[in-house]
């Protein structure tokens, strides 16, 4: 459906997006996450046709729309976009905003479509309002309806929730995912908030310095990060040092573990092992103890920051009633389902 092959984008001789390849099937929702300045918005604007590509090909439904020799104008791509600041037109009513992209239809058809879209986004009675009379969340829905109105081949969302309150975000993200799935719209969203990405996406891409570090499902991204950057960026966790005993066993300060997958590491190699907070289980019976350095009460859980005897800091997600004071020594046990390790360079 949407396919990017080795896409690079440059601004005035400075390459901000490098060799990005990814693809989305019809109806799939993709998310691009990464720290600010990593090139994710630029990539989105290249798909929309606002930026030319320096190399590579962008195709929609197997038809190239951007390449080094071709740049289809944005208005000819049938690409919908929801902007960070919504970019709603202040001189038009909500209904006129939504009808803005419905070029050739008759007036009755337009009215009917607008009505249907307003229904879809849950604002059936607000068609005659002006934009300044709406709340942020309502503006967000109008922006979505306007982008969906011309039935785009792909919908692009650029940080669509960044100007909204935190409480609103999650609900809206879920709602929008439902709407997109209902319409079987292919969509790609840019965000810097991984929780939003987890809530929305079938596929997530992590970007850093213009490169796509990994393109995978949320599950894979969390449990099988491709490199240190992804491991660090997605979820919480720390890397603790270890030594390979053979190709599959690794010895750390928290014990010796076996990995199921065969990798390129050999006996004697120095590695770093990724430890997530949920990998460390609080167990008073355990022989290994660590000192509580910091604690954050989370309601159902407590997130402890622990200091091992070797001086390394790890995090532990314990059940809420295991309440210990800062400074106390508590017993811990490592409960690793699978090993994620990176060779030390």
């Amino acid at each position: 459906m949407l396919e990017l092959q080795q896409v690079a984008v440059a601004y005035g001789g400075h390459t901000v997006v490098k060799e990005v390849s990814l693809s989305l099937a019809q109806g799939q929702i993709g998310c691009l996450v990464g720290p600010s300045g990593c090139g994710k918005t630029t990539l989105l604007r290249a798909i929309a046709g606002f930026e030319p590509v320096a190399s590579g090909v962008i195709s929609l439904q197997r038809q190239p729309v951007s390449s080094t020799t071709l740049q289809l104008a944005p208005e000819l791509r049938q690409v919908g976009m929801v902007f960070q600041d919504f970019a709603l037109f202040p001189h038009l009513t909500v209904a006129d905003n939504i009808a803005f992209g419905l070029g050739k239809l008759s007036k009755a058809e337009k009215t009917a479509q607008v009505k249907q879209l307003l229904q879809l986004v849950g604002l059936p009675d607000l068609g005659q309002r002006y934009i300044y009379q709406l709340s942020g969340g309502q503006q967000q829905r109008v922006a979505l309806a306007r982008a969906l109105a011309p039935k785009p081949r792909v919908l692009l969302l650029d940080e669509p929730f960044s100007s909204l309150d935190t409480e609103l975000r999650e609900g809206l993200a879920r709602e929008i995912r439902q709407i997109l799935q209902q319409l079987r719209i292919t969509a790609i969203m840019v965000t810097h908030d991984q929780n939003e990405a987890f809530a929305m996406a079938d596929m997530i891409g992590v970007m850093e310095f213009g490169r796509l570090q990994q393109w995978a499902t949320p599950y894979e991204l969390y449990h099988k990060p491709a490199n240190r950057f992804v491991a660090d960026f997605i979820g919480r966790g720390v890397l603790i040092p270890g030594t390979m005993l053979d190709a599959q066993q690794v010895k750390t300060n928290l014990g010796t573990f076996t990995q199921r997958y065969v990798s390129t590491v050999q006996a004697g190699d120095q590695v770093d092992v990724l430890i997530r907070p949920d990998d460390i289980v609080h167990d008073d019976a355990s022989g290994i103890t660590a000192q509580v350095v910091e604690k954050a009460f989370r309601g159902s859980h407590i997130l402890y920051q622990l200091k091992l005897h070797s001086g390394e800091l790890v995090q532990c997600l314990a059940l809420s009633h295991h309440n210990h004071a800062v400074g106390e020594q508590i017993g811990i046990r490592l409960d690793l389902d699978h090993l994620v390790l990176f060779p030390r360079t």
Binding site: A48, A73, E75, L76, R77, M81, D85, H91, F100, R146
Partner: protein, 546 residues
């Protein structure tokens, strides 16, 4: 491909911007060739007068504007009293009264044969010499006249500054042990100081630029000196150098203004928690406040407007004739032409700045927009010198090549006037157009493109409807400013081409004040339009936050 477009924008902005900057550059370039003889003469005779009088005039007007403007702004923004809503915008009315017109009117009003003295004599039976009556045709009178019509600059900015201060500031002062009076001096006034200074700088620039009032009152300042040196002594270079000196004074004010404007932003506290509640006072104090706030409007607008109307009514059979209609036609068509040209330039510059964030585009536009600070007299001289030179060259070339003479094809036609107006009023229109353009966020362009509109379609469906109001406002503002403008028009108008402002000036100079009333009244009436516009926005901002 992109680069080519960008370069077209760059040139399209750079060339007209430099043309607009040319007059001021010419004025400063004149300093490179000092005309020693004239300077010697000027220094020995009148230069000291020019400097002292101009400084006193501007300084006095500044103080007057601060007193009237800040005082009324404070009362309007703090107290609830009868007529406050009405006065809030009526205090802007004197903006519609050009300084030279109020000067003519008060001269006639306070004259020995004028209505006031006649009435006093009738009432008391005194005769000439029996009583003392104040004279206004001297420096002090000019300061009063200018203060009366220029204080709204301070009032407008100070009122916003005061009413934007959040109520919690006042409450914080009170909990820290300050009386309301101490709060005013130690918190409210210092916070509003950048706004007050900005308004004062603008008023003082106008005072420096004034020609009509000081010429009529016989006060020798820079502007009258420039006229005298140019026309009386026939020295272009001397006039240009005087102009350069005057511009130097104005530049100091300009720096003050720009510096204060930046401060306003620092001092503005972003979101205001709660607008200040108006203080309620007893009926007696309300009447006093009403009276105080009425005074500037009364003397700055109502009294002169009534006097002008009565003159105009008393002899309209004589003055309202074919000649007057020609005057109106000349003024309106000239003002409309200048407004269209200036707004087109402003649109070009605003779009250039939007599409090309580059020093090569930004800097020349800023330079060209500084013309608002430069007195009309100075701009006129700066336009006249290069155009007269060009005319000479074109004339010679045309005679050599085609055997015909072109005469004053640039400096003797409306071209010179329109150029001068564009220099002086570009900032006014640019300000309005840019404010409109700012409402169109770049993402709206993108949104419209992704919804299937070509760039031209975006212009038509998004930009035109959203810009319409600000472009119309810009047209109106420039139109009215041109209509009121006097000194540049006097110097640059084509031979035998008269406008309302010029005719008012000529008739007043011939002491035919009653005859001058009709064209003057026409100017005042048209000038009311932008004031009404401004008043509406004042009301809107105030009632928008209940």
């Amino acid at each position: 491909m992109l680069r080519g477009w960008r370069d077209i924008w760059c040139w399209a902005v750079l060339l007209p911007a430099l043309l607009l900057a040319l007059p001021v550059l010419v004025i400063f370039a004149s300093l490179l060739q000092p005309e020693t003889e004239i300077w010697q003469h000027l220094r020995q005779t009148v230069l000291a007068d020019y400097v002292v009088n101009s400084l006193l005039l501007a300084g006095g007007t500044g103080i007057g504007a601060i007193l009237l403007g800040t005082g009324s702004a404070w009362l309007i923004s703090q107290y609830q009293f009868v007529g406050r809503r009405l006065l809030q915008w009526m205090l802007l009315l004197p903006l519609a009264m050009p300084a030279y017109i109020i000067a003519y009117t008060y001269t006639g009003l306070l004259d020995f044969a004028g209505p006031l003295q006649s009435y006093i004599r009738e009432l008391t039976g005194w005769r000439y010499g029996d009583y003392w009556f104040p004279q206004i045709r001297f420096l002090g009178g000019a300061i009063v006249m200018l203060s009366l019509v220029l204080y709204p600059y301070v009032y407008m900015l100070a009122r916003t500054a005061f009413s934007d201060q959040s109520a919690s500031l006042f409450e914080a002062s009170r909990t820290l042990g300050l009386t309301p009076r101490q709060h005013f001096w130690r918190v409210a006034l210092p916070l509003a100081r950048p706004a007050i200074l900005t308004g004062t700088a603008l008023a003082m620039m106008e005072a420096f630029a004034d020609y009509g009032t000081v010429q009529y009152f016989g006060v020798t300042t820079f502007t009258t000196g420039i006229f005298r040196t140019w026309f009386g002594m026939g020295s272009q270079a001397g006039a240009a150098q005087l102009a350069a000196l005057l511009t130097g004074f104005v530049l100091v004010l300009l720096l003050l203004e720009q510096w204060s404007r930046r401060k306003i932003r620092y001092y503005h506290q972003g979101q205001r928690s709660q607008p200040t509640a108006l203080r309620r006072v007893g009926v007696g104090r309300q009447m006093l406040l009403l009276l105080l706030c009425c005074l500037p409007v009364l003397f700055g607008f109502v009294v002169p407007a009534i006097q002008l109307s009565s003159w105009a009514l008393s002899n309209y059979q004589v003055t309202f004739n074919q000649q007057f209609i020609t005057l109106v036609w000349n003024s309106f068509s000239l003002a409309a032409l200048a407004a269209v040209v200036t707004v087109l330039l402003a649109l070009l510059f605003a779009y250039g700045k939007r599409l090309r964030r580059d020093v090569l585009v930004q800097a020349p536009v800023r330079l060209a927009a500084l013309g608002y600070a430069v007195p009309g007299t100075v701009i006129a001289i700066g336009v006249m010198i290069p155009l007269a030179y060009l005319d000479g060259r074109i004339d010679t070339l045309a005679e050599q090549w085609f055997g015909m003479r072109t005469g004053l094809i640039l400096s003797g036609t409306l071209f010179a006037l329109v150029l001068a107006y564009s220099v002086r009023f570009l900032a006014v229109s640019l300000h309005s157009v840019e404010a409109g353009l700012q409402r169109i966020k770049p993402s709206m362009d993108d949104a419209a493109r992704s919804l299937g509109f070509s760039p031209l379609g975006v212009l038509k469906n998004v930009h035109v409807p959203l810009l319409r109001t600000s472009v119309l406002t810009a047209l109106l503002l420039v139109f009215v400013d041109v209509l009121k403008e006097l000194p540049a028009t006097l110097i640059l108008r084509p031979f035998n081409f008269n406008t309302l402002a010029v005719r008012t000036y000529e008739l007043a100079s011939d002491e035919r004040l009653a005859d001058a009333a009709l064209p003057a009244l026409a100017i005042v009436l048209v000038s009311l339009l932008p004031v009404i516009l401004l008043a509406r926005s004042v009301k809107a901002t105030h009632e928008g936050a209940p």
